[in-house]
Structures are given as structure tokens and as C-alpha cells.
Amino acid sequence: MSTGGTNSRVIAVEPSGRFAYVANVVSNDISVFSIDPNTSSLSLVGSPVPAEAGPEFIAIGPTGKLLYVVNQNSNHITAFSIDSNTGALTPLPGQVPTDDAPVAISFDPSGQFAYVANFISGDVTAYRVDSTGALALLGAIPADVNPSSITMHPSGKFAYITSLASNEITAFQVSQVSGGWTPLSPSVATGQGPTSATVDPQGRFVYVTNAIEGTITTFAVDGANGALTLSSTVPAGTIPVALTLDSSGRFAYVANEGSNNVITFTVDSSTGALTPSGPPVDAGAGSSWVALIE
């Protein structure tokens, strides 16, 4: 189904599972879809909603009522309120600044803080989230070169940042009072070209897609201090760019942008190792994101 936009990348599904949003990075807009709860067939709701320059990443906020948009080319975050009946988006006034080239946003599990990875400035900007969902900039945390993704541990105590240029992942300890981060040194090597990091729902493993070498690396998480240990690496398709786990943490779905397909993996519950559960399944050209509906 056409998105009506150009360069459609990140999908965000509203918590009820009735609406999905797709960020169109080149046409600078957001497509809104309603989802049939029985068949999951999509219907485009109106025309794509204009956003700012380069909506590289979108996420539903902690309240489930706001959609946050990370605008890579205009270096700020904007937000839309979601109509719970129709799924329609209404832009909220104001913009919240980031640093240079923001590429991803993540909320801590308590919903009190938000963090944005800034690709060119090589840092993470931290925000306090108030009860209305408004963001207040707290400051910046230095990261490795070219941070490409950001993910929070479900305990809220740790955060992980992948670095595309240095092929590493860095773990941080998170203050749940101030929202500040302390790096846990040293960084750990990933494969070539890490583009995404995903923590499993139990917080025991971190999965990194290595786009250049076409693999997925599994890291074991030390639950006491958040440190990562390389556990295993498996081949994926060509240019794997995103990995999504189901809420049980037993199945992983990898979007391969180069081979235009999706691979389903079974997760070993004790080691976190991934095993393909079948051959890759063809999707459209440039498969770049998988969102699940439960």
C-alpha cells in the first residue's frame, strides 16, 4: 500500500493498535493509516500531514496520545496530538531544539525523560517530559562518533547507543532522578555499520543490526551494571537496518533494506541466540522497518 509520501521509513503504531504512522523523510510528512483490527489491512487516512524538514524518526510518547517527530534537517523535535477516534494528527505549537542531525528518540520506561541521538554532533540531548508530554531540554551527553540509534533498558537504569563510524555500542548508567547518563567504559565492538540496537523485554539481551556486513550481533546484558558481553553473531539479509522483537521476546523480525525482505528469527531463551525460523520473506523495495500488532 502506498504511503503517499517519499522515503517512508519509521513506523509508529498507536497503543490501541488501531492507527499507524509512517515518517516520509524526503517528502517531509507523516502518513496516517487506520488498521482493521481483524485483518490488519490498512487504509490511508487523508493526505500525509506536513512535518518539518527530514522527519527521520517518529515515536509515540509515554501517554500514548502524542506523536513525536525527530526532524533531522531542521534540528528539532515537533509533536502532534492523536485523535483517539480517527487517528488524525494535530500539530502542537512550538519546537524543541536538538543538536546537529537528530536521528532517533527514546523515552525512559518511567516516561519522565526523553533522549535524542544526534548523528553529526555526536551526542545525546536529554529532556524532561512533563505530564502534558511537553519536553524541556536538560542538556547534552557526549557520545561516540556518529550515534545512529538509542535504546533504553526496561529497568530504566541503562541506555545503549550505537556508533556507526566506530562500529561500537556504548552502555550508559542512567540517573533516574536527574535523567543524566554516565558512560560505562569501555565501548564494545559491534559488526560493521551498526544501525539499530534493541533490548529484549526482559532486559537480558541487546541486538544490533550491522548494516554493512549483513549480520545481527547479540550481546548479553549484566543485569547488575548494564555491561554488555558479545554473545553471538548471525547472518541477516543485505543491509539489515532494524530489528523488532515481539513482546514475549521469543521472536525477532529483521528488515533488510538491500535484499528487500524480512527474516523471522527464533530467540533462544537462555542465550539470546537467533535462529532463522524460515527463509526470508519478500516485502517491498528497501524494507526498512518492522512494526508488530499484537
Binding site: 500500500m1 490488519s40 523480525y253 524494507s287
Partner: protein, 138 residues
Amino acid sequence: MHFANFFVAKKFTEKRRVVRNNIGNLESTKAVGIAPGETRSQVAAASGLGSSSRFQRKRTGMSKRKFACSTLILILLTVLLVACGYSAPQSTPPPPTGTARFALVSNLTDNTISTFAIDSQMHGLRCLQGARTPELLP
């Protein structure tokens, strides 16, 4: 009638028939075995098995020997199996169940969304909407 109930009822009827036959056999044995007024020793002598008490003793003796032999064979077999590295089969855990019913996939180059149903047992993806048509090879 529901198929399951039908099979249960059929099984039950067959079981009753077997029990009834066994009762019939027992009754016929009883009728042929010892005639009224006939002693056990008379029956035994007629059948060439000797006296009743000897017959009993002999039967008990055979049973004990058989039991001892069987136990010995079982022990030897177990030792042999363990020595060969055999271990009792573990019960296979049930396959994990996924929680997702559908998957949406964004496609950056052709600006589409593909929709897939997720098989709850095999966890494979079945295209519902918008997968790429495979290239026609010469």
C-alpha cells in the same frame, strides 16, 4: 452426535463386550474344570499334572525362577544401556508461542507499507498487502 462422543461410546461398548467374554470364559472354565464332587487331586491326576499341592509348588517355583531371571536381564540391560551412553528421553518442551498477530513493513524505496499475518505456530510471515512481485526471470 459429536464425533468425539461417538468414539468414546464405541470404545466403551467394546470394553464391555471384552469383559463379558472374559466372564463367560471364567464361567466355562469353572464348569469344565471341576465337576461337583470331584477333588482337585483327581482333576490334576486326570490331566497328568500330579497332585494339587505339587502342582501349586511347581508353579510357585517356576514363577520365582522366572522373576529372578527377568530381574537379572533387566539389570544387565540397564547397565549395558548406561554404559553405551543412553539416557532416558526428556520430555520435549512445547514450541514457544509468539504474541504478534500482524507485521507492518515500511519500504523506503518504493514508498509502500507491506502487511503480513504472523503464523502463531510456525511464526512465518504471510503477505496480506503490498509485497513486491517477484522478478520474472528469463
